[in-house]
């Protein structure tokens, strides 16, 4: 693992000092990416406060769909374990649900009967699966293209409510609605990645409607790379999810103002700290603002970062606390291939020490 300033290899201390100079000189620095473990997120958010900057996550667009539905309409949620043990009716919605969680089908073990269910049988349906996906979990497939899902779900919800609609050929949805209503413990499995905000609200409304007569809940899958853990960390540190800024000295949450890409393109952010320790991902923006990157060695940047520090992968190079979607809480991920590659939290700690020595923000 190496550190670079203006492309030249340097020691970690020199790189941290250079990073502190870049970030400390900014009027409104933005900490973006935030692909890191809990310790890294804590350090990054504390640094944002010290710099009076803003922070955003690389998966914010997806994360905020679920968060917005949660805080404006409400959700009924469960864990993967409950699905495995209790669900006698499972409805998957949307394509590519297991892409970021390849082990989930095994964990759900849908082929086995639900041990704690009165019926001891399980029906599995998949609405709008991509090719071959439904067979993977032995689900009965109900075809729907991704673009038709908003209306298909609206028609399904109307069918559950036994309302009149103008939907032609909705017989399949009427049959599905009857199956859902007959469930003792039903679960909808969905991912914000493949649905838009309003469709997610429609889906959770459907679950609420089903709860009038039976028990129904949702397993909402989030993006990988500890994104949910970063949101929780942000919550306990500032009271807000990601896209929060400290420009005025106190945390303000604004999903439009603190969108890192927008801030950079609109010439509002004048320096950036990019963090992506899980995947070799680079920032999406085009404007070339001074950039400090804590990234994986193989990351390809659109323009050379002023300071680049190669960091280890949480749970790979070092032990890490992450949010585990399998058990729906924080868990320790032991290093699979322990190395001395620096952790994000440690690197940020060094940058912060240099800030304390030198120029304070503003």
């Amino acid at each position: 693992m190496k550190a670079f300033v203006d492309g030249a290899a340097v020691g970690l201390d020199a790189a941290a000092a250079a990073a502190a100079r870049v970030l400390g000189a900014a009027r409104l620095p933005v900490i973006a990416g935030l692909g890191t473990d809990v310790a890294g997120a804590r350090a990054a958010i504390a640094l944002a406060e010290k710099l009076r900057g803003a922070y955003d996550h690389l998966a914010s667009d997806v994360l905020l769909r679920d968060i917005d539905v949660m805080r404006q309409a409400g959700r009924i949620l469960t864990t993967a374990n409950d699905v495995r043990l209790r669900a006698d009716c499972v409805l998957f919605v949307g394509p590519k649900l297991f892409e970021s969680l390849p082990d989930l089908p095994k964990h759900l073990d849908l082929a086995a009967p639900p041990r704690l269910s009165v019926t001891k049988t399980r029906k599995v349906f998949w609405l709008g699966a991509s090719r071959g996906e439904a067979a993977q979990v032995g689900a009965t497939e109900i075809a729907a293209s991704p673009s038709s899902l908003p209306q298909v779900l609206a028609n399904l919800r109307a069918a559950v409510l036994e309302r009149k609609t103008r939907a032609n050929g909705a017989q399949k949805l009427v049959e599905l609605a009857a199956q859902l209503k007959a469930a003792h413990f039903g679960v909808v499995v969905c991912a914000a990645d493949s649905l838009d905000r309003l469709t997610i609200e429609m889906l959770h409304g459907l679950v609420v409607d089903l709860n009038e007569k039976t028990r129904f809940t949702t397993l909402a899958l989030g993006p990988g790379g500890n994104a949910l853990g970063v949101v929780q960390t942000s919550g306990w540190m500032t009271g807000f999810p990601v896209r929060t800024g400290f420009g005025r000295g106190y945390p303000e949450h604004d999903i439009w103002r603190f969108d890192a890409n927008r801030m950079v393109e609109a010439d509002e952010a004048d320096a950036a700290l990019w963090i992506s320790a899980y995947r070799a991902e680079a920032p999406q923006w085009n404007r070339r603002i001074p950039l400090v990157a804590l990234a994986k060695p193989q990351t390809r940047f659109a323009y050379p970062p002023r300071v680049k520090i190669e960091v280890g992968t949480p749970g790979e190079d070092h032990d890490a606390i992450e949010f585990s979607q399998e058990i729906a809480t924080f868990a320790l991920a032991r290093a699979k291939n322990a190395s001395n590659a620096p952790r994000v939290a440690d690197v940020i700690g060094r940058i912060e020490q240099n800030l304390a020595k030198g120029s304070e923000a503003c």
Binding site: R27, L28, R52, D68, R71, Q72, P150, Q151, L153, A154, N155, R157, A158, L161, R163, K164, T165, R166, A167, N168, A170, L198, E201, M202, G205, G245, G247, R248, G249, H253, D254, I255, W256, R257, E268, A361, C362
Partner: protein, 267 residues
């Protein structure tokens, strides 16, 4: 005489202008007004740094030019008038409860967000989420009149609860999403899926897209109320008055939710 603020520099950062309201400036001298901090970053910038101030009664405040970075113009307005001869950023007229705000240029997202009263007129175009609630808020606009002469972005009138929104231009997709009550009129072309998740309330579309199957055709609407409402809108918009004079056809929905809302289209 009007209090006039003429920008003398391009804003170096986003500014929060929500402190510049008639009721907040009523007892302030020009010097006190000049000292008000508008910054949203750690770098301070005051009214005096940014504007040339011509003293006058703060009951009417005029901005001689605008900027996409002027956020919160007229936010919390409850009396008097604010005129902007140019653009405004996000949250223009947000949570206003009285008075009048007129913006001659374009505005960013969340214009008229959660407004509860008064009159907001925008001569240019508006960004996404016109009149909508912000993060974690449950209700959008709950009263007053919002007139948009240009076009609106996505999800205009989201969670509208009371009051009237009149859009003379077009509107983006998901217009009137999650509407609870109130009236939303669009004279231009409307994007796909208007009224998605609407519970009650009224949407009137002069140029509608194909409506979703969860909106049920109720046939031609026989009532004298549209003509009455058209007369109410006549001082604001001749186009709107014309739309309400012609026969209308009614669709009830969204049947996926409560189904007590309605979308009117020309018969």
């Amino acid at each position: 005489m009007t209090l006039v603020l003429t920008p003398k520099v391009t804003p170096p950062q986003r500014l929060d202008l929500s402190a510049l309201l008639p009721h907040l400036l009523a007892d302030k001298s020009s010097k006190e007004i000049a000292a008000i901090d508008l910054a949203t970053t750690c770098e301070k910038i005051t009214v005096g740094d940014l504007f040339r101030i011509r003293a006058g009664s703060a009951e009417e405040i005029r901005f001689e030019d605008g900027s996409e970075r002027f956020d919160g113009v007229g936010q919390g307005l409850n009396r008097g008038r604010i005129l902007v001869a140019g653009d405004a950023g996000i949250n223009a007229g947000r949570k206003m409860s009285g008075g009048e705000l007129v913006i001659s240029g374009n505005v960013g997202p969340y214009a008229g967000s959660a407004m509860a009263g008064g009159r907001l007129e925008i001569l240019g175009n508006a960004g996404d989420f016109l009149a909508a609630p912000r993060e974690g808020e449950l209700n959008g606009m709950s009263g007053g009149l919002l007139v948009l002469r240009g076009a609106a972005g996505l999800r205009a009138g989201d969670r509208l609860r009371r009051g009237t929104i009149l859009i003379e231009g077009g509107a983006g997709d998901w217009l009137g999403s999650r509407l609870i009550a109130g009236t939303l009129v669009v004279l231009g072309r409307a994007g796909m899926s208007p009224g998605y998740l609407m519970r009650r309330g009224t949407i009137v579309l002069a140029k509608p897209p194909a409506l979703a199957a969860t909106f049920v055709d109720c046939g031609q609407f026989a009532s004298s109320f549209p003509a009455v409402f058209g007369r109410f809108l006549l001082p604001e918009s001749r186009g709107a008055a014309r739309l309400f004079r012609a026969p209308l056809r009614r669709f009830a929905g969204d049947m996926a939710v409560l189904g007590k809302g309605e979308i009117f289209v020309p018969a």
